[in-house]
Symmetry: C2
Subunit: 369 residues, 2 copies
Amino acid sequence: MSVGLLPEGLRDRLPPHADALARLVWRALDVAQAWGYERVSPPLAEFEDTLVGRLKSSRPQDLLRVIDPVSQRTLALRPDITAQVGRIAVTRMAHRARPLRLAYGGPVLKLKATQLRPEREMMQVGAEIVGTDNIAAAREIVSLALTALERAGVTGITLDITLPDLVDTLAAGPFPIEAGRIDRARALLDAKDAGGLAAAGFDRYLPLIDAAGPFPQALDRLRAIDAGGVLASRIAGIEAITTAVAGKAALTLDPTERHGFEYQSWFGFSLFAEGVSGEIGRGGSYTVLHPDGREEPALGFSLYPDPLIDAGLGGKPRQRIFVPLDADAGAVEGLRADGWATVAALDGDDDAAALGCTHRFERGAVVAV
Amino acid sequence: MSVGLLPEGLRDRLPPHADALARLVWRALDVAQAWGYERVSPPLAEFEDTLVGRLKSSRPQDLLRVIDPVSQRTLALRPDITAQVGRIAVTRMAHRARPLRLAYGGPVLKLKATQLRPEREMMQVGAEIVGTDNIAAAREIVSLALTALERAGVTGITLDITLPDLVDTLAAGPFPIEAGRIDRARALLDAKDAGGLAAAGFDRYLPLIDAAGPFPQALDRLRAIDAGGVLASRIAGIEAITTAVAGKAALTLDPTERHGFEYQSWFGFSLFAEGVSGEIGRGGSYTVLHPDGREEPALGFSLYPDPLIDAGLGGKPRQRIFVPLDADAGAVEGLRADGWATVAALDGDDDAAALGCTHRFERGAVVAV
């Protein structure tokens, strides 16, 4: 019988994982709220064409489509919430003062899984600042991402910083490359191919390869590259950002990393956690498009906490205590206030141990099962 | 330009409503967790045929369908989570000791809106006991639903109790009706059509019409009907359930109400809140179907909190305080610990009042804006 069989990439989250995920999301968003970020909650599906127009890292062919007999149009399930938040910022919240701080959390759906992430439905949690993308904003976004993870019980975090438009900036300035060859230089830098860079005549870009790796050495090597004011202001920016989060994460620099940052401007970052393969989040500076064509600077991050839960992070559930049929309601409420999950007997046969209780409430006392 | 235009029945939740909804859901599920309910989180979509087989109150034609090129089958977006929780209880959690207590919360999607509820995407939050449907279980489920609403800041609740299989039970016992005429009797009772009941020869059912209304009068009238043991045990059950929730809700009885309770067995209830039109939740006893054909008793409730949020319930957001660029990080953390939402200046032009701040943090002091 096929009952219980789910489509590839869609799954049931069972105890204790479902609870751990909800707790992680709640705690992360509770931190965002305390930092002045107001929550928005866009719908799970939109008109396909509206959604596609705002998606940056997803392509139309990555979308799960929904047939909507009511509108007689094709809807798409959102593969990303950031684009929806951008839409809200420039439409229904366009009149609100800037910087506009928004937070969000909810499921997203992708057409296809990847080898690293076999799930097609995943949780996305994030925060965005719209209207400001200066260093203070970057510092706040990075600090918020790390604090949210910390409060959610995630440890062993690595923050990997990148400068998405660095090659473009150098190529247009101190280390000239004609426009048609910039992609080639970028690909060689992505591959950390020193020989290829030299052979192609991109010698001046070679020191950028060595400027990847753990702080502070990598930043020192970036500082040693003589490219005038371009690097100086960026280094000052990175220093200001990383100083604010000292002790909250291991820091690495990958100045020319472009993969997944194609739509970021001067600043980007990835988040990793010990024992979890692949990114757990990412962020950076970008622009949102207004209906009148104007572009507005923005800066934000998204976390994808499912792999953290699969790795056993996200906090522990309450300990369970079995409560007999005739227990005093006030005393049971007291146990809950003390942090217990109370499991009430519903008939005489209920078995404390089988119901996962480590303790039993007996004549007013907490007794180990 | 159509940017910002969403499909009918799908909407953006903006501040402060998105936050209020998330807070209400979190608090309700936090209460369930403290009562020993473990959270499960089924996927947003399943194979259409699997989902349809378990849906009780939704029909296949009520589903939004998704084209899935990966499985090459039609998926359906869930219109209800209870059916998915039932599936989990009899498959992946079939081996777990009973009573199995499960809780859930997440969005559901319907093909069509109704006049009363124009939204097609709505939040559903609930808890189910699988394996026991006795009075103790009913008392716990009703208490949990009311406590969850109370903790979530919802006031003015009415609990309306119904006995879904009462007419069947009376018809098969003390007040005989041949099987083919039971639906007719039920329809007349639903319409509270005393004349029709008398004309159709269902005179003995007439007193049930008067047994609808506020407690304790309605229950007294039900008690006055001489139908032998059938009513006595039900009245004792209702008394045990309602005694446990005295003071938490206004109580009404509608013993023959069937609408929406077609799949409930001996006990059903609806929840209403002052100032909110229509039900905000419902629950009762039912059965879940195992893969081997066995039916297992269950009892639970679902809340649909969106209308509560639209009515302004669900608690207030943190008050916002503007924090200057050079503020001490420890002091700012202290403000958050005191319950403030801190809104940091990101550059010199940021305007406290425009950013929704009622206060400003100035030289270590909280000052009204």
